[in-house]
Amino acid sequence: MILADEAPYYGEALTSLRDRLTELRPDAVVRTHTDPGKALAEGGEADLLVAIGSKALGATRAIPAGRGALHLFVTRDDWLQQVARDPGLTQHSALVLDQPPVHLVALARALLPKARALAIVLGPVGRRHLEAVRDEAEGLGFEPLIGTLDANDNPLAVLSPLVRVADAVLVVPDNADFNSAMAKWLLQLSFRARTPVIAFSNAYVRAGALASVFTAPEDVGREGAELIAAGFTAGGLPREMRLPRRYSLAINRDVAQALGIEVPDEAVCRQRIDAILEGRP
């Protein structure tokens, strides 16, 4: 295991991975390093190198071709940019943080069963998933209202008309700066318009979104361990980028109360989501 640094959520993910791997493969021996150079020097005998975080991803580019590696705790954009920069990474496996858009659409439907118009806000990066998101929304009975924004656009000019007419606003993750810059205007506009926001992070919920599905550190650790165990079993990890299957759920009940929305408890909500996901074609 190569940790990008000692951020607490990396530790949580590591702990979760080690615990889950032990459950699945008690024979597995896990060694942890925070110095990528040292890890590569000493990891010559390891069956698999696991890099946690974007910094660790950069350091493991030097891994010889043909040798498997799994990258955890990177966003999809980061991974795609690194792969574009270093084609050797196509020989590695990656489990990214970004929840599949369908999880977000499913959450919106689970919390707002009567909602019709769903405003979808896409940034310069998320815009490439426009088609997939729109399809997923329409699939769950929503009328998607697409709003795309660039960094230089006036967010109010784009968001205000969307927020005013939509029953809910769905925010697709983009790059970190865009997410932060846009959240302020979106949350205020939606608050004024009394339109709930479905977001992609726990922090969004704390800032004023109604609810979100997001990848928690334990989710990363557990799903990573399951991938590793399957890989060991299958004789190797699939060399691809995978979106997470596991997700965590966050609901801001104060916002729900302010907006007058009845929100079921988390377990019910998770059941509804799972049901929706399983009921998809």
Binding site: S54, V74, A176, A181, A199, A207
Partner: protein, 888 residues
């Protein structure tokens, strides 16, 4: 102000009050100032801080409204904020500092904001408001759960500014309130403290003041004053000390008063005694002074009374002698004359000695003309010496040009006595007088003779009164034996010394040395003329004496002792002047031959020094008269006489063209009618336009109305003198202020030069005026030239000789009357006129006698002057008779 401050600060209570209150005042002022400053500062800081907090709050909360440019939100926020006390208003600016919204109370116009007007973090005072602004950024909200990239967090975008205007007027009002409150509190504290200090100072000062009053009373003489001790502190001890001191002083004063009373009584007695003695002394002094005055008066009267009859006797005896045909009778007359002369000399000596002994003689120091003093004195005695065939020489050191400051009367007496003595005791040879200035400044006078000499054993007593060489001398030479004693006393009186060298049968030398200061002559002596002057004298001593005189008049002087030498010199070079000295020892015929030769052959000025007796007896009258270039002078001749006789004239310089004075305007100012008449006749010949004034006042009146080209002025005139009249005429603006002035005066005294220095004078000419010299001067000063026409000369011939003798008689009467009345000034004045008149016709002895009279009157020798008046009358009568005979 300074006095008021001293009076205030000098009071003890005030000083105590100042000592107590000044630090308090200082502290109060300092604390009050500090409190005001700090509270005002706090107030300003609080105000500014309030503004900053408000602006930051708005910047943090209104970013969305500013970003959205939501006027409703901005307006409502502005309205809310403006209602907060202390805030005048708020303004919201966009990214380009354009005003999005400003509340009505905001003190600044919208166009006042621009990009250059960014206040930044600083507050700024504008129009009574304090503006504080903060930037509004669009801050990002953290909606990402993880940091998954290495990019730095992006800063929010600038949205605009929030500007808060704070009410400074209210802050100022609050500041004023702080000032008023603080000052009021300070004043109350200070007043209370001052009041307490005053009360405390009063309590300290009151007993001190009581003690001061007691001390003042003691000092004022109230020795019974005592201080009351009301306390038991140091002041009580001080009061006790003052009381003790007062008691001691009172006792001492009583004792002193007793002693003073005793001393006063003694002093009064002494004073009374002294007063009596003073009275006695004053009486004695008065008596002594009265006796002195009486003595002086007696001596003066005796001098006059004794000399007058004797002089009359002498004069009439001489008249009688000249009119008697019998030789025996003429011999009797000569005996009477000789006896009267001896008696006269004896009287003179006795009176002079008595005057010196009486102590009435006073030393009067003044600058005097050495030539005038010595020449006149020597020339008085020269006729006597010449009568005995003895030459008299006077030689004044060539280098002497300053005037000695001494008693001229005493110097004359000394020289007179020594020369008189020398003449008396010399029968063959000469008497020589030499005068020089010693290295230490003393005046030295040597009188040498070739007389009988004085034996060594008699020299010690020679200066004692009534002592002569031996009894035989008295019989042989006569005399009182007082001359040298008188001389010695005069020398002592002047602080000088006298010494005698003598050889029996060879001669004597008296050496007198007198201390004196020297003063430059005013005006300074004229510089020597160019050209060569020749001295002809058969004796070496005579040549030396004449040479010393002529060197003052000419740059080169050649001395010859024989006729052959004279011929050689005359042949060898042109000469400017010739001085011939008649010798008593040379044959008369030989000397006459020489004189005839030089008079005929030479046209330069010739001065011939002749004993007066020889002028009458040995020299033919035709030789004396009718030669204008020849001057006959009494021997020894004086400096001024030689100058008048020998200095070159314009006509001698070969000016060919005839002179012309026609049209020249001349004013003649002369009080003597005869002199005025003479001038009148002279000027009439020249054709000039002239007017006459008889005194200074008339001259001033005439000069105010008319302008003249020349002024001829006499000096001695009644009422307004010539000098005073000239001073008034020469005032700036006068029409004759610049007219050239020729002064005509017979007075050659030294102080005339000093008086003339007060006015501007072109030329001073002696009286009687030399026609040629006067005409040449007039020509020069009127800017004309030419040879003087012969027709201008001979004005004197037009004068009546009878009128001339009458005028002399009249003036002699005036002089005699003035001398009898003790009117010295009047005598001098008339004498001056007499000198001017007498010389008109150059009647030798009359002129000489007048000069002597003039000298005697000037030195106030009344006795001798009276004698001289008698002699002059006799001489005048003789001349008048002679003139009548010639006319007949």
């Amino acid at each position: 102000m300074k006095r008021l401050w001293r009076a205030i600060a000098g009071r003890l209570q005030v000083r105590l009050l100042l000592i107590g209150s000044l630090p308090l005042l200082l502290a109060t002022v300092l604390f009050t100032s500090y409190a005001i400053f700090s509270r005002q500062n706090d107030l300003l800081q609080r105000t500014e801080s309030f503004g900053v907090r408000t602006a930051e709050y708005l910047a943090n909360t209104l970013d969305f409204a500013l970003f959205a440019k939501d006027p409703a939100v901005l307006a409502s926020t502005a309205t809310d904020i403006q209602s907060v006390p202390g805030i005048l208003g708020v303004a919201f600016l966009d990214q380009d500092r354009r005003v999005l919204h400003a509340s009505p109370g905001f003190p600044r116009r919208a166009q006042d904001f621009d990009a250059r007007d960014d206040l930044g973090e600083q507050a700024r005072e504008v129009g009574g408001a304090l503006l504080v602004e903060r930037v509004v950024y669009a801050r990002d909200w953290g909606v990402n759960d993880y940091v998954t990239t290495w990019e730095m967090p992006r800063r929010g975008n600038l949205l605009g500014w929030v500007v808060v205007a704070l009410d400074l007027e209210e802050a100022r009002r609050a500041q004023d309130t702080i000032v008023v409150t603080s000052v009021g509190i300070g004043a109350v504290v200070l007043g209370s403290a001052l009041l307490m200090s005053l009360v405390l100072a009063g309590s300290v000062v009151a007993p001190v003041r009581r003690l001061t009053d007691v001390v003042a009373r003691l000092r004022g003489g109230d020795l019974g004053a005592r201080a009351q001790a009301t306390t038991s502190d140091e002041l009580a001890e001080l009061a006790e000390g003052i009381n003790h001191l007062g008691e001691t002083v009172a006792q001492n004063q009583r004792e002193l008063e007793r002693q003073v009373a005793q001393a006063t009584w003694g002093l009064r007695a002494t004073l009374a005694e002294l007063r009596d003695k003073n009275l006695d002394l004053e009486l004695s002094t008065e008596k002594a002074e009265a006796a002195n005055l009486a003595k002086s008066d007696f001596l003066a009267r005796m001098s006059h009374e004794l000399r007058t009859p004797l002089t009359s006797i002498q004069g009439f005896v001489r008249l009688l002698e000249s009119s008697l045909p019998d030789a025996a009778e003429r011999n009797y007359c000569r005996i009477i004359d000789t006896a009267s002369l001896s008696l006269m000399a004896l009287i003179d000596d006795i009176l002079e000695f008595a005057r010196l002994q009486s102590g009435v003689q006073r030393v009067e120091l003044a600058p005097f003309d050495l030539f005038d003093a010595l020449e006149n004195t020597v020339r008085l005695l020269a006729p006597i010496a010449h009568g005995k065939g003895v030459e008299v020489y006077l030689e004044i050191d060539r280098e002497l040009s300053d005037c000695p400051v001494s008693d001229v009367s005493a110097v004359r007496q000394i020289v007179n006595n020594l020369v008189g003595n020398a003449v008396k005791f010399t029968t063959v040879g000469h008497v020589q007088v030499r005068c020089t200035r010693l290295a230490d400044g003393w005046l030295q006078i040597l009188v040498r003779d070739t007389g009988v000499g004085i034996a060594a054993e008699q020299r010690e007593q020679i200066f004692d009164a009534f002592q002569q060489g031996d009894s035989g001398i008295a019989r042989r030479f006569g005399g009182s034996g007082l001359g040298l004693a008188i001389t010695h006393q005069h020398v002592d009186m002047l602080g000088g010394r006298i010494a005698l060298d003598s050889q029996l049968g060879i001669g004597s030398e008296f050496r007198v040395e007198l201390p004196c200061r020297w003063q430059s002559a005013v005006p300074p002596p004229a510089a020597p003329q160019p050209g060569t002057a020749v001295v002809f004298d058969s004796t070496q001593i005579g040549r030396d004496a004449a040479c010393a005189l002529l060197q003052r008049l000419f740059r080169e002087v050649v001395c010859v002792g024989s006729f052959d030498d004279l011929i050689d010199v005359l042949a060898s070079r042109p000469i400017a002047a010739l001085n011939v000295n008649w010798s008593l020892s040379e044959p008369v015929s030989a000397q006459l031959a020489v004189l005839r030769h030089v008079i005929d052959e030479l046209r330069c000025p010739i001065a011939i020094q002749v004993p007066l007796a020889a002028l009458h007896e040995d020299i033919p009258a035709e030789l004396v008269r009718g030669q204008d270039h020849v001057r006959w002078l009494g021997k020894p001749g004086g400096l001024e006489e030689l100058r008048n006789a020998l200095w070159p004239r314009l006509s001698d310089r070969g000016v060919a063209q005839a002179a012309d004075l026609s049209g020249v305007r001349v004013l003649v100012v002369e009080d003597n009618p005869l002199s005025r008449l003479l001038l009148n006749k002279l000027l009439a010949r020249t054709g000039c336009d002239y007017l006459e004034a008889a005194d200074g006042r008339a001259a001033i009146e005439i000069c105010q109305a008319r302008r003249f080209d020349l002024l001829l002025f006499d000096l001695h005139m009644p009422e307004i003198t010539g000098v005073e009249a000239l001073r008034q005429l020469q005032q700036p603006g006068g029409c004759n202020a610049d007219t050239p002035v020729i002064v005509l005066t017979a007075d050659q005294a030294l102080d005339i030069g000093r008086e003339l220095s007060l006015v501007r004078v072109a030329r001073v000419l002696g009286k009687p005026f030399d026609e040629q010299l006067l005409l040449e001067t007039m020509l020069t000063l009127s800017g004309r030239s030419g040879m003087l026409p012969a027709a201008w000369f001979g004005s004197r011939a037009e004068l009546s000789r009878e009128a001339y003798f009458d005028e002399i008689d009249r003036l002699l009467s005036v002089v005699d009357s003035a001398l009898s009345n003790g009117n010295q000034d009047g005598a001098r004045e008339s004498c001056h006129q007499l000198a001017g008149i007498v010389a008109i016709f150059r009647l030798g002895e009359l002129e000489q006698l007048t000069q002597l009279l003039h000298s005697l009157v000037r030195v106030s020798d009344v006795g001798r002057a009276a004698s001289m008046v008698v002699q002059l009358r006799i001489e005048n009568d003789a001349q008048r008779r002679q003139n009548r005979r010639q006319s007949a």
